[in-house]
Amino acid sequence: MDCRTAQDTLPLYFDGELDRAASREFETHLDTCADCRAALIELDALRTTLRRDAPRHAAPELLRKRIEKLAGAQLDVQAPASARRAAAHPPRWLAYAASTVLAFAAGGMAVSLWNSTNRNAESTQASASAQLARDLFASHWRALAATSPVDVISTDRHTVKPWFEGKIGIAPAVHDFAEQGFALVGGRIDYAGNLRVPALVYRHGQHLIDVFVLPDSATLPGDALRQTGYRIEAVRLGGQNAAIVSDMDPAELAHFVQLLAATK
């Protein structure tokens, strides 16, 4: 890639609009070009300034009430908006809980097909755990091979969290740790068994990190948490079960676990 092309590509790269292959190509150029690195740093400085100092005005409570009231009036014969929302949510959560049961049933069946360290695991719980670990690895690798590891590109937790809430009715605790070297890239919805789970995606240097938010009933196996350089680490994320999957070394992973565990 020559520098002229790179200069055109630079904002696309910076804004997360390039696919993986193009990003790699750009990064190769970046390694050799101080000018492009400087330009990238300038863009990043501007973004940091804007995000830090340009206030994101939150909607006043009064406006929210107004819109809620209007939304309620649109329903006229039906229940008021607030009641409907309250009524609409539990089924989604129930469906989520029910799918958990299914996932574990599926896990129990599938495990007999899977020859691994857990071959002699006897209880369904253990096989379900092993299946979960396998699914998480598979999800992570699928994401690495995909054009983009995220469905929603964002470094802003205020975008990612409502996005999940809108899609699957689960609002995980989302925090950006860019300052500590673990930048939030975005989120996607992935599968563990037939259970749809939120995956938060972070980047640390060259490493892509997935944080899967799991239901309370999910447990990870005590072993089989390492495969060909990739690791799974269980963590509590704002009161929810979660699992980190990445190819970071143990020290980096431990640091990231600490950061996540400290969030509320």
């Binding site: 819109i67 809620e68 939304a71 975008t159």
Partner: protein, 192 residues
């Protein structure tokens, strides 16, 4: 999505992205009152136009309506008050606080100083953004603050992606230039 169910999802959509809508309104119109009224208008318009929604990104669709309502309001206001800068930062509370920095003795606790520095920085950024032409300001807000993708921004602004890219590039360059003399950007590496 059936026409009968439309108002329900419109309500959910609007409430889910109410902050984004209001923030866009605030940056386009410059004050709380107009921004809130524009979002209110937008909701009514969205509810009426619900059955014309042809799929695609719903947030972008909603923000496009919000933006149109803001621009309509902006136009009316421009017609009414030609001689007053509509983007005057005096409407934004941060600007006022930033000005107070010099009044305090330097010996005050450093945390107070930090807070004033922050207030000053906010005032500077707010002013610099408001001094940008609207098309650059809104593009920057949608990308950097609301973190919309190029495709989403193109949907909101109803322009080709190429236009989004050129506005973004131009807007960034203008803002960098405006802030260059203020030493605001040079501090960012320190964080907070």
């Amino acid at each position: 999505m059936t026409a009968a169910a439309a108002p329900v999802w419109i309500g959910e959509l609007a409430l889910c992205h109410l902050d984004a809508a209001y923030n866009l309104g605030r940056w386009l119109l410059g004050n709380e009152h107009d921004a809130a009224d524009a979002v209110h208008d937008a909701f009514l318009r969205a509810a009426r136009a619900a059955d014309t929604y042809a799929g695609g990104n719903a947030r972008a669709w909603w923000l496009a309506i919000v933006r149109n309502c803001c621009l309509a309001r902006l136009e009316t206001r421009n017609r009414d008050v030609r001689n007053i800068s509509i983007d005057s930062v005096s409407n934004d509370d941060d600007a006022a606080r930033g000005g107070g920095a010099q009044l305090l003795p330097r010996s005050e606790a450093s945390e107070i100083e930090d807070r004033l520095d922050q207030a000053q920085r906010r005032a500077l950024i707010t002013r610099a953004l408001h001094e940008l032409p609207t098309e650059f300001r809104e593009t920057l807000i949608l990308r950097e603050i609301e973190e919309l993708s190029y495709r989403e921004i193109a949907d909101v602004l109803q322009t080709p992606i190429g236009t989004v890219m050129s506005r973004l590039a131009r807007g960034r360059a203008l803002l960098q230039k405006a802030l260059a003399g203020t030493a605001v950007t040079s501090e960012v590496t320190h964080g907070l």
